[in-house]
């Protein structure tokens, strides 16, 4: 059992995570990760076959920064609005260095420039959360995408 306060802090972290992405606050979203973070989006197909190909692979926070700079300045993508619903949060274990293995399910809807929308992505987050000063942050986030044939394109993170 972890302390209720920690549990609330982890819930808040997920809520902030979704809110930042859904409101195009990518730079704030970045700050929810620790400096030594890893972020991956993995098609479930590859996870099941034991193959290493990802849909997005950031091995450190600088690669995440580069992704965001590129999205802001060097990519064109669909005009869209996202909505993340993150549930079934399970704090599974503590890690040797005082972090926590955490899993959660997500669904993400996407609306287009004319207000039509659909379920864009659903799957599981396999995460590691660590204390960082007063806050908790993600040190690892692996997004396993269950509907791995990506509709349209993948621009902003899941």
């Amino acid at each position: 059992m972890i302390a209720a306060e920690l549990r609330f802090a982890i819930d808040d972290l997920f809520a902030d995570y979704g809110a930042c992405l859904d409101n195009d606050r990518l730079e704030d979203w970045l700050e929810l990760f620790s400096e030594d973070c890893v972020y991956k989006i993995v098609p479930r197909e590859n996870a099941e076959l034991g193959l290493p190909v990802t849909l997005m692979l950031c091995e450190n926070k600088n690669m995440l920064r580069d992704r965001i700079v590129s999205l802001r300045q060097a990519n064109e993508y669909s005009v869209h609005t996202d909505k993340h619903l993150i549930t079934n949060v399970r704090v599974k274990d503590t890690t040797d260095d005082g972090g926590y293995s955490v899993e959660a399910n997500y669904t993400m809807y996407q609306a287009d420039n004319e207000g039509s929308g659909s379920l864009y992505s659903f799957g599981t987050y396999i995460d590691e959360v660590v204390h960082d000063g007063d806050a908790v942050k993600f040190r690892r986030k692996i997004v396993i995408v269950d509907n791995w044939s990506i509709p349209h394109m993948l621009s902003t993170p899941i």
């Binding site: 590859n46 849909l55 064109e76 394109m153």
Partner: protein, 418 residues
């Protein structure tokens, strides 16, 4: 059924929009192109190393099952039960001794031969099938298969020329370069794009767009219109190769050509430049070489990211794209990591490829309800002759695509340029 196309020009520099949106055109494409005298990409041999290994895939919108038989031969057959049409194999990948349809348990061996019908003679003399039912007439429909340098191709037509003739020296050369050693498959990416499949085949032949739409390429000097590069085609102009040489232009060249406002290269740098590192692996110093074969696949190298792409048409308005990434069997762990890192450049979320899906979807959407006279303009690199170009600003291979398309569809204009 015949199709009447009023081509405005015999060199395909105008392509009527309705060809992307017409159900009869689509039905004819399936028959005359995907099930016609063409070779389609099916998969890689490295995906099925062991006897019994199988993959399911699609040729156009026909479901196809590919597997390796006990003697090592690769067979491909339509994944549709000879009984009542159910998909026999329901998995994307796997290994089996026999394929059994779940509906009434008819079973097929690895060559597609029907080997088992439950209760064929009924029970206690009652039920079952008549004596004259001949199992040998009800195997799965087979495709002809050809393997070239580890790539598996299939065709429905007895008339299709041998694979090396179909590909021609240009494509064979590029495939041999890419498939120079035993492969290790690293995994898949899949994408569902809401547009007509031909828009993607055109996109792959459009060198003009690459350094305009994909700003990342330009900003970080991976592919700029000012670089040394160009396009090559096979003799029939149905396949194409687009290539560029790393570092063959300077930022100053690019700036002069693009104008300052278009070029971010001074302002933007990557904090982790390993993404852009190019380790030369082949004799030439091309950092980008992407070939596209008619009608359904592309073979790519950008820096050290290697992949095949397969197009699976899903009706007029949609297609799926399957990216199969690989490295070489002798890559060390560092090289594998490097390839996996560079995979950020490609796929549905690739920093230099995400825009393609958006470009195709907006082109598909906005051209949908056009009248017969409305047509796309395809004349960058000039009109008339369809031929190789030693420069990047051109879309000539798109006209090559249409010239072969029109021949197969039997809709060539008078005096058609080939």
């Amino acid at each position: 059924m015949s199709l009447n196309v009023e081509w405005q020009r015999s060199d395909y520099s105008r392509v009527p929009y309705w060809l992307y949106h017409d159900p009869d055109v689509y039905a004819r494409e399936q028959e005359l192109i995907f099930r016609g005298p063409t070779w389609s990409y099916l998969c890689l041999e490295a995906e099925m190393p062991e006897p019994g290994d199988f993959r399911t895939t699609w040729v156009g919108d026909t479901p196809v099952l590919v597997n390796r038989d006990r003697d090592g031969t690769i067979h491909a057959m339509v994944n549709r039960c000879a009984h009542r049409g159910a998909a026999v194999c329901r998995h994307a990948h796997g290994n089996t001794k026999v394929h059994t349809c779940i509906y009434h348990r008819w079973s097929y061996d690895l060559s597609g031969e029907l080997i088992g019908i439950p209760f064929q003679r009924g029970i206690g003399g009652q039920g079952g099938m008549d004596d004259d039912f001949d199992k040998t007439e009800h195997s799965l429909r087979r495709l002809r298969v050809a393997c070239y340098k580890g790539i598996v191709f299939g065709t429905f037509s007895a008339a299709t020329e041998p694979i090396e003739d179909y590909l021609g020296p240009m494509m064979c050369g590029h495939i041999s370069r890419l498939m120079c050693k035993p492969l290790r498959v690293l995994g898949y990416q899949r994408q569902s794009i809401h547009g007509n499949w031909k828009l993607y085949l055109e996109n792959l032949r459009d060198t003009y767009h690459a350094s305009l739409l994909h700003e990342f390429l330009v900003t970080f000097g991976l592919d700029r219109a000012t670089q040394k590069g160009g396009v090559e085609m096979d003799a029939r102009h149905r396949h194409n190769l687009t290539y560029a040489h790393a570092g063959s232009d300077s930022d100053a060249d690019a700036k002069a050509a693009y104008g300052d406002h278009q070029l971010n290269s001074d302002k933007l740098t990557l904090r982790d430049p390993r993404l852009l590192e190019f380790r030369q692996e082949y004799e030439d110093d091309r950092n980008l070489a992407i070939s596209t074969m008619f009608p359904n696949a592309s073979f790519q190298q950008l820096n050290n990211s290697l992949a095949t792409r397969q197009v699976q048409s899903k009706g007029i308005d949609a297609f799926d794209l399957v990216w199969t990434y690989f490295g070489y069997a002798d890559d060390d762990a560092d090289m594998t990591d490097h390839r996996l890192r560079q995979l950020n450049l490609f796929g549905p979320g690739g920093l230099v490829s995400m825009e393609d899906a958006e470009a195709i979807e907006i082109a598909h959407r906005a051209s949908r309800h056009e009248g017969p006279d409305a047509a796309a303009v395809i004349e960058v690199g000039g009109k008339g002759e369809i031929s190789d170009r030693a420069y990047r600003v051109n879309d000539v291979p798109i006209r090559g695509f249409w010239s072969y398309y029109a021949e197969l569809m039997d809709i060539e204009p008078e005096g058609a340029v080939r």
